[in-house]
Symmetry: C2
Subunit: 529 residues, 2 copies
């Protein structure tokens, strides 16, 4: 998830200390891995570049790093060889006459080369420039070991000497990146994917997931570094098919369960430092995904203790959502509690929202059965009403597509979510998706791997496996073609320069909601073998 902008000052929170204690009891010990840079790289001058934002291997040899002393205005770029999340240290000495002024050093941490081509001072967007991974450091005395206290998400580390003095230069040695994650690649069994493209997509998905798995499932370790419900749902699914770290999912479920508004509304995201704090941002679909995430978790783990503790939270969540459904079975969204579906606001989300309620309610009913809730017959009636309304009022038989009631708008998200919600049977779903391909492919106007994920899953569910694989390759595969070590927060194949923030320097290039091919491949391709 990325940024959605709400300020709700008047929210009153209800902290459930019992649930939060369980969350805190499951904080993982992070696994540390020492990473030494594998090389030195450099920017390519504009006239040598075919692709605008690539880096070239430097003539300089990383084994002789300390020989390349840097004076005023000089810099070099260390390449870690892959994307990592963690802490950086390096030893610095002065070379020449005695050090007669402080060293003034800038360190820039970049996930992708384009960040190293962007000048931080040129950034002028609304998102906080505090996210730019750049530090300015004065060192009064050398030699020194510089151990930066903050965590970075990067593959490249640029060392730029802003100034020394005319009498000496700075020499660098023993750069070390200590990578951190709650999980290790050693926990994985070898994947049996034969298709090289899919294998690459799978591997990058897994790396993306690993780097987002910290003391919570983070959305992006560069930015926003926190737990969003919509991302958690997808990460948990990918996790079940890969690392299978069940404690971290449990922890995150308890975090959301323990911090709600007094009326029981679940926030879209929570913070864990300096203390557990819910954000004052509410998204209708994200609140519902607490239920589906709990369902997926219990389904996968049979952790009935968690079901026992968290079912009341889920029930309150579905009840609140169903208050938005009118007597005809129509979801009536309110401005204060918008549905997300995708970043784009160029399409109407009413029908997709309706589908998400159906999708969730089906899973809630299964949770209610597992919990043995005697009072759940209403939910069946409500589900029928929602489905009936969808079939009667929202499906255009001629066009073989779901529409938006008020405008008759036909959009991609409506079809996808209605298929995922299995409003019709698989036969009809296949026809809907075939029609969707005709009408909406090649896809344009969608910038989030989050929405692409749902499209691919809808294709798989509607028995359009070939098209699902094709889309995965065209979308996630294209990111790999462009050099991705981890999958990006935002990507528009039809507009490679797209950034939601006006500069690549603010983009997150390792983002939770982009890791789902590991789940899609695991569930729909490997499990069938």
């Amino acid at each position: 998830m990325a940024f959605t902008f709400q300020i709700n000052n008047d929210v009153v929170w209800d902290y459930d200390e019992n649930l939060l204690e369980r969350a805190e009891a499951n904080i993982p010990e992070l696994i540390e891995t020492k990473v030494c840079p594998t090389g030195i790289v450099e920017r390519i001058s504009a006239d040598q570049r075919t692709n605008e934002f690539t880096l070239a291997k430097s003539q300089k040899n990383i084994l002789h790093l300390s020989d390349y002393a840097l004076g005023r205005g000089e810099s070099l770029i260390l390449d870690l060889g892959d994307h990592y999340v963690g802490h950086f240290s390096i030893e610095i000495n002065s070379v020449g006459s005695p050090m007669d002024a402080p060293l003034y050093l800038r360190l820039k941490f970049a996930e992708v080369p384009s960040e190293l081509y962007a000048a931080s001072e040129d950034y002028d967007g609304w998102l906080s420039r505090s996210w730019i991974q750049e530090e300015h450091v004065h060192l009064d005395v050398l030699p020194a070991k510089l151990q930066l206290p903050r965590r970075y998400s990067c593959r490249y580390v640029e060392l730029s000497v802003i100034d020394t003095s005319p009498k000496w230069k700075a020499s660098f040695s023993n750069p070390l990146f200590v990578a951190e994650s709650s999980v290790s690649m050693n926990q994985l069994s070898d994947s049996t994917i034969e298709d090289a493209e899919l294998k690459a997509i799978y591997n990058v998905s897994v790396k993306t997931l690993q780097d987002c798995m910290q003391t919570v499932f983070e959305d992006g370790p560069k930015r926003d570094r926190r737990l969003w419900l919509g991302d958690l749902r997808l990460q948990a699914l990918a996790n079940y098919y890969t690392f299978n770290d069940l404690f971290l999912v449990k922890r995150c479920l308890y975090l959301f369960g323990g911090m709600r508004t007094t009326e029981g509304k679940i926030p879209a995201n929570v913070f864990t430092a300096p203390e557990l704090t819910p954000d004052d941002t509410f998204l209708f679909d994200y609140s519902l995904f607490f239920i589906t995430t709990l369902y997926d978790y219990v389904q996968h783990t049979s952790d009935y203790d968690a079901l026992e503790n968290l079912y009341p939270i889920a029930k309150k969540a579905i009840d609140l959502a169903l208050e938005q459904v009118d007597s005809e079975g129509r979801l009536v969204l309110s401005e204060e509690w918008p549905v997300f579906v995708d970043w784009s606001n160029d399409f109407d989300k009413a029908t997709a929202g309706q589908a998400i309620v159906i999708y969730t309610l089906k899973r809630f009913i299964k949770l209610a059965e597992m919990y043995n809730d005697q009072q759940h017959s209403n939910y069946h009636q409500m589900l029928e009403k929602l489905i009936d309304f969808s079939k009667q009022a929202l499906f255009d038989n001629k066009r073989k597509q779901f529409v938006v009631e008020e405008t008759n708008e036909v959009n991609l998200a409506s079809q996808v979510w209605m298929v995922l919600a299995e409003v019709f049977d698989s036969n009809k779903n296949k026809k809907i998706m075939q029609e969707t391909i005709k009408q909406h492919f090649p896809i344009t106007g969608i910038a989030t791997p989050y929405m692409y994920h749902h499209i691919v899953e809808a294709l798989f569910m509607a028995d359009c496996q070939e098209e699902a694989i094709r889309l995965m390759k065209d979308y996630w595969g294209k990111m790999i073609d462009l050099g991705a070590d981890t999958f990006w927060e935002a990507f528009k194949p039809e507009d490679l320069d797209f950034s939601p923030y006006g500069s690549p320097i603010l983009n997150s290039y390792c983002h939770a909601w982009s890791c789902t091919p590991a789940y899609l491949i695991g569930k729909y391709l490997l499990a069938n073998e």
Copy 2:
């Protein structure tokens, strides 16, 4: 002292561990004083300003600091009420919605208001921009106490929030500056100066000296923060008339005594961190000032143990200097070992250099007598020869001024140093200085309080007390009129915008060689009362 640019890679050093141990045994414990800001100030818009670089008292009350939360691009300036040297800390919290991005903060420490009007990024001079007292800090989690590890020299602390996020602002509280010096104002007895102008000059001199007295006598606590011999000589003199911290003088003498070239040359300055290191810069007059500083110290303290240990160093230093004197008694300077006298290179320094040798040799001879050195008769002969040559070849009886032999140039520095060296008797010296006033006053082209000090002392010695006091008031008094809390490294009354570095942001506004009015007033005015 400020920067003089030499690189001498081929120097071989001789460390005397015995002397250096004595230096290290005299490291002072710094005295810490807690200073809370006295107010909040602000820049004045260009059209309201009469003087370009002043600050106005803000409407904001320092007692309500935490009420003035700052968002993107907002800043405020804390006023410590006086100049201090030390460490800064402040507590920071977020106000508003939960903190959903790091805080990116810039802190700028300024000795004088003009630094707060200069944009650091505009600085384009040759001196290292690493001296600019500015930090960029990211804080990932608030509340936090920000405790900056570096030492600053300042009166003002500007807090500029580069970015928060649209959802919250940063609030500041409990700013604290812990001032440090090897001496305390409590060590001083009340001065009995009645003249208000002189009293102010004396007080600012003492403050300047205090802030430069750290674990060595520093030249400037903002820049260059190290021990120069030429500054040490003057600081020691001012110290004898004020704080009288004898251990610190002893420590510094031993530092220079313990680090010489193998031929016995004393460097112009030394570093003390990370380890004791002599700089590869040599100035003819600064090397000689080891002798005069030792003489002043032994004279003041009767520390014959120091004399015993350091006399051989002084003897070697005078011997090396006298090698530059030819058979006629003429000092022949070499390019590798230039004489400093003053920053300006617009006048010929040969005659001033000759006078400095005489000045020093006289004091060395007294040291030799105290040491009971049997082999010092040569020095008397050499002194006579130097004086004879000066009188015969360098003094123009008609003009009543010393000249430069080769060019007949008459300059201020030649007269001043020949008077200080007492080449003629006091009667004739008075005539020379009266003529000097006629020819060279009002002074132009001199930017250093260092040179002004020697002019004033020459006036005192030549019985021109009134003119000496006038000049002190016109020069140091003018700095106070312009708002000085401590005296500046560089000041040209005839050119108020002068900076040797192209920007006030690099100037040192608390500089050792500017503290001498405390000595001049103490010796020539108070001692006579």
